[in-house]
């Protein structure tokens, strides 16, 4: 019993510590900087091929007024740097973690659209993963599924 209480107190302490860290002024300031960061991909094509006559590639155009976009020539003959970010505030702290797990962080849709735009412009199609993903559902498989479903909208972009 004593051990259980001690364990619960320790977990509570760690939880409180994490909450305080997430709510600290420094963490919030950093999160705000991250929230306004441009998400970027480099596309192996000239700018006039990436946005012909100023038209956005279809996956980005689908996001409409919810994003802002920048286009610039990449150095070293690397093609075009295409960037986008949500215009609406993005979740931070605990809310960000929950939104990312639920697939509701608006940056996930932006990352997916940037990757799809790159694939479409460079290869002419958006590559689809094999279907069905597998034939036997298991608990660990569901975790892999979750990671797979979020994979297009996560990562280093």
């Amino acid at each position: 019993m004593k051990r259980a209480v001690l364990g619960a107190m320790m977990l509570g302490g760690i939880g409180l510590g994490v909450m305080r860290w997430l709510n600290s002024r420094q963490t919030k300031a950093r999160a705000e900087r991250e929230a306004s960061r441009w998400l970027m991909v480099t596309i192996n094509r000239r700018p006039d091929e990436v946005v012909p006559d100023g038209r956005l590639p279809e996956p980005l155009a689908r996001l409409g007024e919810t994003i802002e976009v920048q286009v610039r020539e990449a150095p070293g003959d690397r093609g075009t740097e295409l960037g986008a970010r949500p215009v609406t505030p993005v979740p931070t702290g605990v809310e960000e973690v929950m939104a990312r797990l639920a697939g509701e962080d608006p940056r996930q849709a932006v990352r997916t659209a940037l990757r799809e735009s790159k694939c479409l412009i460079e290869t002419g199609e958006v590559l689809r993963p094999d279907e069905p993903p597998t034939t036997r559902p298991t608990p660990t498989g569901r975790l892999v599924d979750l990671a797979s479903q979020r994979a297009g909208g996560e990562g280093r972009l």
């Binding site: 790159k118 460079e122 002419g124 036997r136 892999v144 797979s148 990562g155």
Partner: protein, 391 residues
């Protein structure tokens, strides 16, 4: 269709799974004629690569016949006998255009996983976990091949299936180790591992003009095979001090180029194995870099070390001091197969590169679990088990 599937750690079974379909206009469906085990599959089997799901079809080194093409396929037709690179490349991103195909920026439709793990996206690979795209593998009757115009190569008429099979992975991987490791005429090259990839790296080093090539392993049949079919010298690491032996054979300098073809489950007769295995079990490191450490220590000052063996995550006791102070160049990569396969098929057709001896055991797909047991445990001198799904 029938396929060999991963069901859990050290658990494989042959199952009925849905036939693959054309999902993209540049896809094709290939009827698999031959498909082989690869040492890197053992990392999936052992649970070292985490993003596997029960029911995933494994296998990535294969040869077959094109039976259906998408409307945008230009370079292949139904009936083509093709060897397919294990790495999927789009052919038009910056990395593909610069012949770094395993870094393709468009062939992994689940890029966030490797992005988070390694800080960068890598190419899709057949049958190699959902981190590498979740593509179904080749140990099956049929397989979907995305971007087939860039991933598959027609086998010349004079080359039979068994000789061409290893141009899918083992031969280009080995060639890449020697090529990008910087082997030059007159060099002394050491290769850790006498499996399929190690043997191909040793042969590549010889063909690139190395003066001496020394291959290291512990299995007598693999050492004998390497001497006989590849023409390399060998060292049995259980019988001698490898670094001292290499020093003696190289006039005290050490090999100019060291190629590691072992990977994350490396063995050692000394305490290193116990140390690394304990840390691996406790989750304090993911990979056992025993051969990489030895290669770095053995390499001559100013030499080059190339890591061909597959590693997944973090390692411990990495000799960064030796690397820096000895002025070594360290490189690694999954294979850039598309860069080498045409040349390798040409060498195979001329008889300058022999690969068929690697196929020590040929069996049906139904015998897949037994084939992997033999391959993993080196039973009956198994170097590679080759499955024929339609036999």
């Amino acid at each position: 269709m029938k396929a060999l599937t991963w069901q859990g750690v050290n658990e494989l079974s042959v199952e009925r799974v849905p036939d693959p379909r054309i999902l993209n206009a540049q896809d094709a469906i290939v009827k698999v004629r031959m498909t082989t085990t690869c040492g890197s599959d053992l990392h999936l089997l052992g649970g070292y690569i985490p993003a596997m799901r029960a029911g995933d079809v494994i296998g990535h080194e294969f040869l077959g016949e094109v039976v259906e093409t998408g409307p945008e396929v230009r370079r292949h037709r139904v009936g083509d006998r093709v060897v397919v690179c294990s790495i999927i490349g789009c052919g038009r991103c910056w990395h593909c255009e610069h012949d770094m195909w395993s870094l393709c920026e468009n062939s992994n439709p689940k890029p966030g996983i490797t992005d988070m793990m390694w800080g960068g996206t890598t190419a899709g690979i057949f049958g190699y976990s959902h981190a590498m795209g979740g593509f179904k593998g080749s140990h099956a009757e049929y397989v979907r091949v995305p971007f087939i115009d860039y991933s598959a190569f027609t086998v010349p008429d004079g080359v039979d299936d068994l000789n061409a099979l290893f141009a899918s992975d083992a031969a280009p991987t080995g060639w890449m180790g020697a090529d990008l490791g910087g082997v030059r005429p007159g060099d002394v090259v050491a290769v850790w591992g006498c499996g399929g990839v190690g043997q191909m790296a040793a042969r590549a080093a010889i063909l690139l003009g190395a003066d001496r090539v020394i291959a290291i392993d512990r299995y007598p049949e693999r050492l004998t095979m390497t001497e006989r079919h590849i023409g390399a010298e060998t060292i049995d690491y259980t019988r001698t001090d490898v670094i001292a032996e290499l020093r003696e054979r190289t006039g005290g300098r050490g090999p100019d180029v060291c190629i590691e073809a072992v990977g994350l489950e490396a063995d050692s007769p000394g305490p290193q194995k116990i140390y690394d295995k304990a840390k691996q079990r406790l989750g304090l490191e993911q990979d056992r870099p025993i051969a990489v450490r030895e290669a770095i220590h053995a390499c001559r000052t100013g030499g080059s070390v190339f890591v061909l063996g597959v590693f997944a995550g973090m390692v411990d006791k990495f000799p960064l001091g030796a690397l820096m102070n000895k002025g070594l160049t360290l490189r690694g990569a999954q294979q850039h197969g598309q860069r080498y396969i045409p040349k390798l098929l040409d060498l195979i057709s001329k008889g300058e590169l022999r690969t068929a001896h690697l196929a020590t055991h040929t069996m049906t797909l139904d015998e897949g679990p037994r084939g992997y047991d033999m391959f993993k445990n080196k039973k009956d001198g198994c170097v590679r088990a080759v499955f024929r799904p339609w036999a």
